[in-house]
């Protein structure tokens, strides 16, 4: 049923073999082919720019006012690449190995190997574009360490690596817009995928300024629309990040891969008030020099600096001596939850019993000096100060895990094509490379690998090898899809209830965090599967909106995005319930080792789950994409 199209042969030759066998499009013919790219973050902007450079007619869609605002911009810490500039034992194989192991053996070996290969050229491409990576005094590129690895392979640009990489891709995209190969559609939301004769042939969009619903036809549709962490309401995602594009494609036939695999990032600024609209990440790079601890004693009400060294529990260093504070994110998050559940969490001014732990830089300041710490992390300390009003050079930061990234996404084959021919998915929107847990500094790597190197090879191959009939955006399938979108908008506007979109979104977020968050169990997930359909019913009968669909209406935008979160949330819980094992970020309390680590069940769950939509209010059908491990042997992940 699921055709992965993974090439045969030794893993280090598979991508070359695949490329050698690809069909090509003559340069003169490329402009006759239209490619829709939805999303303008790292994967989307890079793919649109590169396909434009090749000579295709590209239509790029963004709901922002400028492609440069996509949420890739907020990534702080860095981007991994197997350059081995430090000669500290790194290699393409090592990056591949670390990523498969870090993902707790739930990613495809072939895809991950290709990612590690591409990483090397990504840095070349970005440096050539003028990305101002950190440099040493001799002018060479600097690197640092991230969680889950024992080499220094992370390239960075102060605490703004995402912004600098995105500006690189954005500038390449703007050049193509000026050259006329890419047409940019700003402030347009994708509302639906148009499938004709079984092929993805276009999209339906809503102009956020005028409310106009339009259709666009193409030979290929590429979705690079990011992750769906906002299903939790509170997350580190940007406010408008949503699942609508991939969810509507899912409802048109694209299978959804591993929806329950969510990354909870260990180092975020703790939640402070009920009015909080989002959570702010503190880069993982801080764990290079910061030490994580809580008081040994429950109820210790002293201020952090008054607690003597021997009464502090540096629990990560204690439990995981070889990786210490740099254990992978899932491990660090769970450990923080455990010490807080024990009552040893800390609040402002040392107030005991709260939901946070200390991240302490006093040793680093002693060792490196205040100036060096400021140079490396200054902007992060500033962010912290702005939000909390506390000076983290003097008192330890307080941090707590928060939803950050979704490893799940639309299921894709080796070519990044979904189960609908002609629909390609890149970046966080696909489920491909990170398994059950993503390592730090690998999201930027994957977004750019997909955008610069994979999609610009596989999309042309699809075009060259597929015979498509000529089609315009007024074909019956397009008209029908547009009418459906128009009806959906009308339906939302005419419910006439009393609850705002945000109030329902918050309630959904609470259900998801409580039952499908850092720890999950059968009872809780079953309860969530009862609560979510009821909340969906409440949404569709009691939603309140004002204004019309034919104007800029931000509440309406929220509402149709939440409608999709309400369906996706249910699928996430269903996926989490069916996977009776713990792996990476998916921790089932029923499946743990005696010392509380995630316990996989490879005999029954060594597969990617691919869910098929079967209709409104119907349980989805599960398909299994079996995972085999020929190069990295299945083993209990250990960071001790």
């Amino acid at each position: 049923m699921l055709e992965t199209n993974i090439p045969s042969g030794p893993i280090e030759q598979r991508w070359e073999k695949c490329r050698a066998e690809m069909k090509l499009v003559n340069p003169a013919n490329r402009r006759k082919h239209t490619i829709i790219v939805v999303g303008s973050g790292l994967a989307g902007a890079a793919a649109a720019a590169t396909l434009g450079q090749q000579g295709y007619r590209v239509l790029n869609f963004s709901f922002h006012d400028s492609p440069r605002r996509a949420h890739s911009i907020a990534a702080q810490g860095g981007i991994n690449a197997a350059k081995n500039y430090r000669y500290d034992g790194d290699s393409i194989f090592r990056l591949f190995y670390d990523t498969v192991k870090g993902g707790d053996f739930r990613a495809r070996e072939s895809n991950v190997y290709r990612l590690a290969e591409a990483s090397v050229r990504i840095i070349d491409q970005c440096v050539a574009q003028g990305v101002p990576f950190a440099r040493e005094y001799g002018g060479q590129l600097d690197t640092r360490s991230f969680g889950g690895v024992q080499v220094q392979r992370t390239f960075y640009a102060r605490g703004q690596t995402g912004q600098q990489l995105l500006i690189g891709a954005y500038q390449a995209l703007e050049e193509q817009i000026a050259a006329g190969t890419v047409t940019m559609h700003y402030r347009k939301d994708m509302l639906d995928l148009v499938v004709v004769d079984g092929y993805a042939r276009g999209i339906v969009t809503r102009d956020l300024r005028t409310g106009k619903i339009e259709t666009f036809a193409a030979d290929v549709v590429v979705l690079a629309t990011g992750g769906y962490g906002n299903v939790f309401f509170l997350s580190t995602n940007a406010m408008a990040s949503n699942t609508t594009a991939i969810w509507r494609a899912h409802k048109r036939g694209a299978f959804f891969g591993n929806p329950c695999f969510t990354q909870i990032h260990p180092t975020c600024i703790p939640r402070s008030s009920e009015h909080q609209s989002k959570l702010t990440l503190m880069s993982e790079s801080l764990r290079n020099d910061g030490r994580v601890w809580v008081p040994k004693k429950v109820g210790d009400a002293r201020k952090p600096n008054d607690i003597p060294e021997e009464e502090r529990d540096y629990y990560l260093e204690r439990r995981y001596p070889s990786f210490g504070n740099l254990v992978p994110r899932d491990v660090a998050s769970r450990a923080a939850k455990e010490v807080c559940d024990e009552g040893r969490g800390v609040g402002p001014n040392g107030q005991p019993g709260a939901q946070a732990v200390y991240l302490d830089f006093s040793d680093a300041i002693k060792r490196l000096g205040l100036d060096t710490v400021k140079e490396k992390y200054g902007n992060l300390f500033d962010i912290y100060e702005r939000i909390t009003g506390e000076d983290a050079y003097k008192t330890p930061m307080r941090i707590y895990p928060a939803v950050h990234y979704t490893m799940g996404g639309l299921w894709v084959d080796y070519h990044l094509m979904a189960t609908i021919p002609g629909l390609f998915v890149g970046g966080e929107a696909n489920f491909s490379d990170h398994g059950a847990n993503r390592l730090g500094a690998s999201a930027l790597m994957q977004g750019l690998a997909d955008g610069y190197f994979v999609l610009p090879a596989t999309v042309p191959n699809y075009i060259a090898s597929t015979k498509l009939r000529l089609l315009t955006a007024d074909a019956p399938e397009f008209v029908a899809a547009r009418q459906q979108s128009e009806q959906l908008i009308q339906k939302l506007l005419t419910i006439g209830g009393s609850r705002t979109p945000d109030s329902i979104h918050k309630e959904l977020g609470n259900i998801m965090w409580e039952y499908c968050g850092m720890a999950r169990n059968e009872e809780g997930l079953t309860k969530a599967l009862d609560l979510i359909p009821k909340l969906r019913e409440e949404f569709w009968t009691n939603l309140k909106l004002v204004g019309t669909g034919e104007e800029l209406n931000q509440s309406l935008e929220k509402a149709y995005r939440i409608a999709d979160f309400l369906e996706l949330g249910e699928l996430m819980c269903r996926d989490a319930l069916h996977r009776r094992e713990s792996c990476g970020g998916h921790f089932r309390e029923e499946s743990q080792t005696p010392d509380g680590e995630a316990l996989r069940d490879d005999d029954h769950f060594a597969y990617a789950a691919a869910w098929e939509w079967t209709g409104e209010d119907q349980p989805e059908t599960l398909h299994k994409d079996p995972l085999t491990f020929d190069y990295v042997h299945l083993a209990q992940r250990s960071y001790k």
Binding site: H64, R69, Q125, P132
Partner: protein, 265 residues
């Protein structure tokens, strides 16, 4: 804490706008300015009134989406802070706070506090890039960039394109933005081949887009949430002089239509 808000309401670019006064109550000091507006909007929606439209996304001060004038100052006047990072603890209980959109001819109002900043994208399109088709990049370690050059280039590249510099400038000049974007690339060895054409094109586009000239008020630097220094404007002027002497004023890669409006085609 309670506040009186005077907010500019305007349905669309062609409509007449006006200030409307609202009261917000029970605002916690650790709420952000935009969370305070969220609370107002929830209340308005519950009452069946149209919520206030404002642009925002990351709420971490990096995407550059947000921005309006708070009591006449872009982003509210806290040092190195976008309005999404502005905490309510900086406002006194009972205070009246005035909110209005960026005021600049080149940034037409879309609705309420939201403006159209697409002119910035067109400045980039005219030359704010280094041409390097995928596949043609050399091995990264062959390009050495002295640390100081890299750091200064980064200081310029830190611009988030929010438009506060234009809003603060009495001439609505986009010189701080344009100089930051050009300087980021003009300083680097990789940016040298297109340095002159980039400078000429970006400055020309900036003028065609209707931004005013720089007359050294320094208001832009004062409000810039990324603390882009005004020295970059001087740097751009030197680059412009160099480019003009070497290549004449009209050369470059800018494309304009019959009315002199830059076009992407």
């Amino acid at each position: 804490m309670n506040y009186t808000l005077k907010i500019w309401r305007q349905n669309n670019a062609d409509a007449r706008g006006e200030f409307v006064t609202y009261q917000v109550k029970d605002i916690a000091s650790d709420m952000s300015f935009l969370e305070m507006l969220d609370a107002l909007n929830e209340e308005l929606l519950e009452k069946g009134e149209a919520p206030v439209t404002f642009e925002h996304d990351c709420r971490e001060g990096i995407c550059g989406s947000c921005g309006f004038l708070v009591n006449g100052v872009a982003h509210g006047g806290q040092k190195a802070t976008t309005v999404c990072q502005l905490a309510m603890r900086h406002f006194k209980d009972g205070e009246t706070i005035t909110l209005e959109p960026w005021r600049a001819k080149s940034f037409p109002v879309i609705r309420d506090l939201m403006v159209d900043r697409s002119a910035f994208d067109r400045i980039i399109q005219s030359g704010g890039y280094i041409s390097v088709p995928v596949g043609s990049a050399p091995e990264a370690s062959t390009t050495l960039v002295p640390k100081q050059v890299s750091e200064t280039s980064f200081d310029a590249a830190a611009c988030i394109g929010c438009g506060a510099c234009v809003a603060a400038c009495p001439n609505a000049s986009a010189m701080l933005f344009t100089s930051a974007k050009a300087t980021h690339l003009n300083l680097l060895p990789q940016g040298q081949p297109q340095r002159d054409s980039r400078t000429l094109s970006m400055v020309t586009t900036m003028e065609i887009e209707g931004f005013g000239s720089c007359t050294n008020h320094g208001e832009c630097e004062a409000v810039c949430p990324k603390e882009i220094p005004i020295e970059f404007i001087g740097k751009l002027n030197r680059d412009l002089l160099r480019a003009t002497l070497c290549h004449g004023q009209t050369e470059g890669t800018i494309r304009v239509d019959a009315e002199g409006i830059p076009t992407s085609k």
